[in-house]
């Protein structure tokens, strides 16, 4: 993806919406760049913690950008407490994103937990494809309402059975029905989906997540092992061809 739009800016939180106890969505008003699958480095603190946090673009509209995140540690713990008007620094857009131009035909979008967040933007951008979504969660579900009008079918699973199929998202998926699968979620889930797709010779792209420092491709700490060598998740990824990855 081209870098001419990459920028570091100081913005203000417009809204910080509670989705559930550990899932929040920050809305920032303004004109932003980004394609589905790209992310921004977010920072709403001075020195501590040291590193900014990479969060995928959840939605991008002409007048605002949205980031949905799970509260897992110190950085996201601070994001959770942000109020309208609070300052937040953005570096981005970063990463390669999904190549929407090659996503055609019958497409399965398979996502788990917070991995559903970047899929909202992706699904809304897939005009040339027939999309079936498979979303899996532990218990609480989210991101369903906003994609249901953009997909042919939405299949939901929860581990506790509270919504939809009781079990895993991979229980519901037959990759053989599709021309292409797009996947984002826990690595253990993505590895399983990749194996299922490769067994049926179906093309699959996954969005990887790694701890990052610079986020822009300079420091080499976010490496992803692939069959063509070590790649930078933040710059050569986060979207990789499933067949190339070495999990």
């Amino acid at each position: 993806m081209e870098n001419s739009k990459l920028a570091y800016t100081k913005e203000n939180v417009y809204e910080n919406v509670r989705i559930n106890d550990s899932t929040f969505k920050i809305v920032i008003k303004g004109k932003f760049e980004g394609t589905p699958g790209q992310f921004y480095m977010l920072r709403a603190w001075a020195g501590e913690p040291l590193l900014s946090r990479p969060i995928s673009i959840h939605n991008l509209y002409g007048d605002r950008i949205e980031f949905m995140y799970q509260v897992v540690g110190e950085g996201t713990g601070i994001l959770k407490k942000l109020k309208p008007g609070d300052e937040i620094e953005l570096t981005g857009p970063l990463g390669n994103g999904f190549d929407v131009s090659v996503i055609k035909g019958k497409v399965a979008v398979v996502a788990g937990g917070i991995g559903t967040a970047p899929m909202s933007y992706l699904v809304k951008s897939l005009e040339g494809a027939e999309v079936t979504a498979y979303y899996g969660f532990r218990d609480q579900v989210y991101c369903l309402d906003e994609i249901k009008d953009s997909v042919k079918e939405l299949n939901v699973s929860t581990e506790d059975g509270s919504t939809g199929h009781k079990g895993y998202v991979t229980d519901m998926l037959d990759p053989g029905l599709y021309d292409m699968v797009l996947c984002c979620g826990p690595e253990v889930m993505m590895k399983k989906v990749v194996d299922m797709c490769l067994a049926k010779n179906v093309d699959i792209y996954v969005s990887m997540e790694k701890h990052m420092a610079c986020g822009i491709g300079a420091c080499l700490v976010c490496t992803c092992r692939t069959r063509s060598g070590n790649k930078r998740t933040c710059k050569d990824g986060p979207v990789f061809r499933g067949a190339d990855l070495i999990f």
């Binding site: 590193l51 420092a213 420091c219």
Partner: protein, 298 residues
Amino acid sequence: MLKVEICGIEFKNPVIAASGTFGFGEEYGNIYDVSKLGGISSKGLTLNPKEGNNGLRVFETRAGMMNSVGLQNPGVDGFIKNELVKMKELDTVVIANLGGGTMEEYLKGVEKLSNSEVDMIELNISCPNVKSGGMAFGIKSDVAYEVVSEVKKICRKPLIVKLSPNAEDIVDMAFKCCEAGADSISLVNTFKAMAIDINRRKPVFENITAGLSGPAIKPVALRMVYEVAKAVDVPVIGLGGIVSAKDAIEFIMAGATAVQVGTANFMKPDICLDIIEGIEEFMKKENIRDLKEITGCI
């Protein structure tokens, strides 16, 4: 006003991007004009390309981070053919940082870089010495002395030797490297450190130890720069946890002619510009016309 000179090379200001965090300047160059920097020290090179370490490569700590990248780099030939070409298009001092696993690798690397367009070579002696079971070259002064003196025989660029803070005696190390012919000393590299995952009951890093950097190390790095600057006659380049102009000025007052900024780049991508601006503001406020007036003034 901000100009400094090291080994006959003029830096427009004393702020150099440290090796390892900055690649070869291209990525940060997409965010700001990196020609505004005094210099850029390249990602650590080795004679041959390296893939780097498997497993986790970064772990955040209080006021810092640990890294175990393992010197992933395109190799000296790859650098000269590709990355160096782009670096030379910048209007800033180009420093090639070179590591090695054996004396031979250092010598071959220095030979190639001496024939290239780099302005200076920064010798990274924090690398594990393959022949001594992995102990870094920069731990024992006489081992470092040997490497530097052999390198100096064939090096045709100004030679900066970058010290490891894990040296048995950092002042003796600096002294011996100067005796061996170092034209300048830069310090410090990362501190050998560790973290344990109590749930997996294993070290966080596959390699067990990793390098600690960031604000956490600054007070120790500053003390080392101060002690070394007092002991040697060559220009000293100070680094270790600098995240502000105030930090940079502390290092300059401790004796550093120039400073390097590494981990701070992760806190704010254009932090080096803030630091350069801040040094200038301080000089104006304090009526300092030349940094020599405060270099080593402590």
